[in-house]
């Protein structure tokens, strides 16, 4: 069977976008440039979600991450002056240690992912295409359904977490309460 070339093409395109975006995020001097690179990476990731038959997560990713959290980031970057900061040293003194630690972790990843049992790769792929037509409804069932909804409690806790976060953010950021 010929592998679907289009899928591979889009995967590598998006993966490259994400990696380049990620590299730009951690190397740019100017925080706004970093934020824009991160937005690009996040949008590419949303597209990857679509390729993984997870349209709802993709939609949430676009609305919340790209449209919400990153706007918050940009807002804060504009509120604080960065001109002075840009002239300073960008990396801290332990950067070498950091790189070594990351490299160690990377090595760990490589060992795990290349590990095969009896010559077969770690993940045995089953059927790889599922209709996305009912994706949202099925997620809703998991979250809210009276019988199948096993994440309802977690969902409520998450809403509580958001409330706490809102109050915390207001308390932190407000000058005079």
């Amino acid at each position: 069977m010929n592998p679907p070339v289009a899928t591979a093409f889009f995967f590598y395109l998006l993966a490259a976008t994400m990696i380049i975006g990620g590299i730009l995020v951690i190397t740019r001097k100017n925080a706004v440039h970093s934020a824009l690179a991160l937005i690009t990476a996040l949008l590419a990731q949303a597209a990857l979600y679509l390729m993984l038959y997870a349209p709802f997560v993709a939609g949430v990713q676009i609305i919340l991450y790209a449209g919400g959290i990153m706007v918050l980031f940009l807002f804060v970057i504009m509120l604080i002056s960065i001109e002075r900061n840009m002239k300073e040293r960008q990396f801290n003194k332990q950067w070498l240690v950091g790189i070594v630690a990351a490299a160690a972790l990377g090595a760990l990843f490589v060992t795990v992912y290349t590990k095969t049992s009896r010559g077969v790769s770690l993940f045995i792929e089953g059927r790889m295409s599922y209709g996305e037509s009912q994706n949202t409804q099925m997620i809703a069932n998991l979250l809210f359904d009276r019988r199948a909804g096993m994440y309802m409690f977690a969902f409520e806790i998450a809403s509580l977490l958001l409330l706490v976060a809102i109050i915390g953010a207001v308390v932190m950021a407000k000058k005079r309460i």
Partner: protein
């Protein structure tokens, strides 16, 4: 060649690992708090990518309605929103007091 063209879960996991490492490097080496926070977002996203990829893998075993990974991803996104709000709030408070965004100078236990 076939393994490269046939996109499997492992491909996504490798991508996730790469992003995770980038995020880790960012957190460990950058001084600018804003960029550190963004690196944390990168880490969370790497995790999310893995979760959704696992979800598809899980679906291939347990049927189309086994979307636990995606539900987890949604929870992680919620968490990221809360983290960003509080983190940036702390950043603003910090900036107001010390007029810097360097993470090295976050050396007071209280002010």
């Amino acid at each position: 060649m076939n393994t490269l063209l046939h996109i499997s879960t492992l491909h996504y996991l490798v991508l996730g690992a790469a992003l995770f490492l980038l995020g880790i490097i960012g957190v460990l080496t950058r001084r600018n708090v804003v960029i550190v926070l963004m690196s944390i977002e990168l880490i969370l996203n790497a995790v999310n990518l893995n979760l959704v990829a696992f979800s598809r893998y899980w679906q291939s075993i347990h049927g189309a309605s086994a979307l636990h990974g995606q539900v987890f991803a949604i929870f992680v996104i919620t968490d990221a929103a809360a983290e960003a709000a509080v983190g940036l709030g702390i950043l603003i408070a910090f900036f107001r007091n010390k007029e810097t965004v360097n993470v090295d100078e976050v050396n007071l236990l209280k002010w």
